[in-house]
Structures are given as structure tokens and as C-alpha cells.
Amino acid sequence: MEETLIKVTDVKGTVLKPIDATFKVEYKYEGEAAAEEVLVGDVKKGEVKGDDFPAPDATKDLEYSEVVIDVTDKPKKLPYAGKRIRFIGKVPPKGFPTDLPFIGKIPETKEEKKLAMAEKKEALIKELQKRFPPKEL
């Protein structure tokens, strides 16, 4: 059964569902020069799902595993930066939150919030007009 392997969240634990991001998981073994990519793909609705993280090579000593989240569409949808998260001597725990750092602006005044909502409204109208053009009264 598929489970949540990676939960792409902000530092408050909120799942960043609309985020456009890719992920990769790397395993680095003792004595080897470079890490090996074992899993790669797109983040879907703020999550990476799968049966489990790949089992490390039992004949080698795992130095660390690393999860890399690359935000591909900032700040069009959400203002969060990518991140590398390293787990020493083990594979990542299933369902861990990524705690991506916020790189936007926290609104401080009501006017700022109202202005942002009004701008978004105008953007929505512009998009809707492509499919539903105005009609003469």
C-alpha cells in the first residue's frame, strides 16, 4: 500500500499542497566518492507517495541519505525555497515533514491583505474572460 514518504511542509507543519516542486533521494555509502540517486520525481499535492524508500545496499555501509526538494515555480504559486535534508547513517523516516523556509512577505496590515486579495481578484477576472467573454447588454 502506498504511504506518504515525504510531506512537503513549511516550518509550521502546513502541507504546501499547491507547490510546484521536484524531489530526489540520494544514498551515500562509506568510501564512495559520490552519492547515488535512488529515487526521483515530482511532488504531487505537497506529498511524495510510495511503498517505501529503497532499501540500501546491504553489502555497503550507508554514510547518509539525503532528500533534495527543488521548488521549480517560485514565487508564482507559493514563496518557499527548496532544501536538502540529510539523515546520517539511515534512510529517511517515512512521512517526515520538510520544513521548507518561507521567502515571501508576511502581510502586516489589513490594507496590505485587502490589496493582495483585490489584485488576485483582477487576475482571476482576466483569466475567466478568456473563456467567458463579456456580452453586450
Partner: protein, 200 residues
């Protein structure tokens, strides 16, 4: 039976802790509700303030809490009353923003209603759930089903934290239309987190 008012329901001195039969809990350890709160679900009065598009909107905390797979949630209600007019092919109303301290918000119930006039059709007013297919009207004052899109949108602002949820009413059709909208939706948030509403 006449509905008792809040005072009648309380019925004991609020300054004295009473023990309940078979329980060691005292009242200060209990969550108590007034009759009004139990019957309506809302705690306190839902105050709808006026916004920049003539909409009236606000949120109120509900009595119900949820435990979903070990995670506890508080529940709230969003209301908005507005007119979509004058007639046009597109109506977008910014209701306001719901900002939570932490966590996602999940809308668990939508009882929103659309009211239109049908004076020159079958007569009177039409009332339908807010969705495509809801009856809308125009200058003919004959109601007809809207065949485009009609929904309440929860959207993030690109530069703001994800905990800022902007709420919009979005309605569009190939032909001009107008109607009145009554948004009534319940949502849940992580228990104990702050919830702030800002009218648009």
C-alpha cells in the same frame, strides 16, 4: 415547547462549582454551552461586516471538535451575503481572508445558497445550492440554470504564507446573469490554532 433563553438554560449560580452525580469533574473543568450555542452550533454572535464590494462576511467558531486519526481539530463557519450584479458574464467577489496560525484548513460542509427572481417565469424566487446548474436571472426576470461555473474558491496569495487563505465567489456563464448568494460553509483547523478573518 417554547425555546428557553440562555439564562434559563444555565439555571445555576455561575460562581459556584457544582459536582455532577457520578462524576468527579467540577464545572471549571468542563466545556459549557448556552442553549443558543447548542442549537446553532455557533459560539457567540456571527457578525458579518461590510466589505469593499458590498458583501457582508464573517466567521464564527463552532462548538464541534473533531479527532481525525489522532489529530484534533476545531471547527468554524464562514458566512457571506452578497449580490452578483449588475448582470454580466463574469462575477468575482473577494469575500475575505482566513488566516490560521498553523496548518491547513479543510472545508467539511457547504450549505451555500443562490437566490434569483422568476417573476416572469413560474413566479416568485428560486433557491438552489451554489453550483453550476443553479438558477440565475437577468433583465427578463426569468430564472434559468447557469451552465458555466459557480463555486467558492480558496486560494493562496503568491507572496504570502500558505496559512493565508483568500476566499472568492466565482461565477461565469456564456450569457449575462445576476443573482444573490448566501455562502455558508464549515471548515476545520488544527485544534487551538489562531484563526483571523479579514474582510476584503
Amino acid at each position: 415547547m417554547a425555546a428557553p433563553d440562555n439564562e434559563q438554560f444555565i439555571g445555576f449560580n455561575p460562581l459556584v462549582d457544582l459536582t455532577q452525580r457520578g462524576s468527579k469533574l467540577i464545572n471549571s473543568k468542563r466545556q459549557t454551552y448556552t442553549y443558543e450555542e447548542i442549537m446553532s452550533g455557533a459560539i457567540g454572535t456571527t457578525t458579518l461586516e461590510g466589505g469593499s464590494q458590498g458583501q457582508l462576511a464573517g466567521i464564527s467558531k463552532l462548538a464541534a471538535t473533531y479527532n481525525l486519526g489522532g489529530v484534533e481539530y476545531d471547527s468554524y463557519n464562514l458566512k457571506c451575503v452578497t449580490s452578483l450584479g449588475p448582470q454580466a458574464t463574469i462575477h468575482v467577489v473577494a469575500i475575505g481572508s482566513i488566516e490560521v496560525g498553523a496548518g491547513n484548513i479543510f472545508f467539511t460542509s457547504n450549505r451555500s445558497n443562490v437566490e434569483s427572481v422568476d417573476f416572469n417565469g413560474f413566479g416568485g424566487y428560486t433557491n438552489n445550492p451554489l453550483n453550476f446548474g443553479a438558477m440565475v436571472d437577468d433583465e427578463t426576470e426569468i430564472a434559468r440554470p447557469l451552465t458555466g461555473i459557480f463555486y467558492v474558491n480558496q486560494e493562496n496569495i503568491p507572496t504570502f504564507p500558505i496559512e493565508f487563505n483568500a476566499m472568492y465567489i466565482i461565477a461565469a456563464d456564456a450569457a449575462n446573469f445576476e443573482c444573490d448568494v448566501y455562502v455558508d460553509m464549515d471548515f476545520i483547523v488544527e485544534k487551538g490554532t489562531t484563526v483571523e478573518f479579514t474582510i476584503a
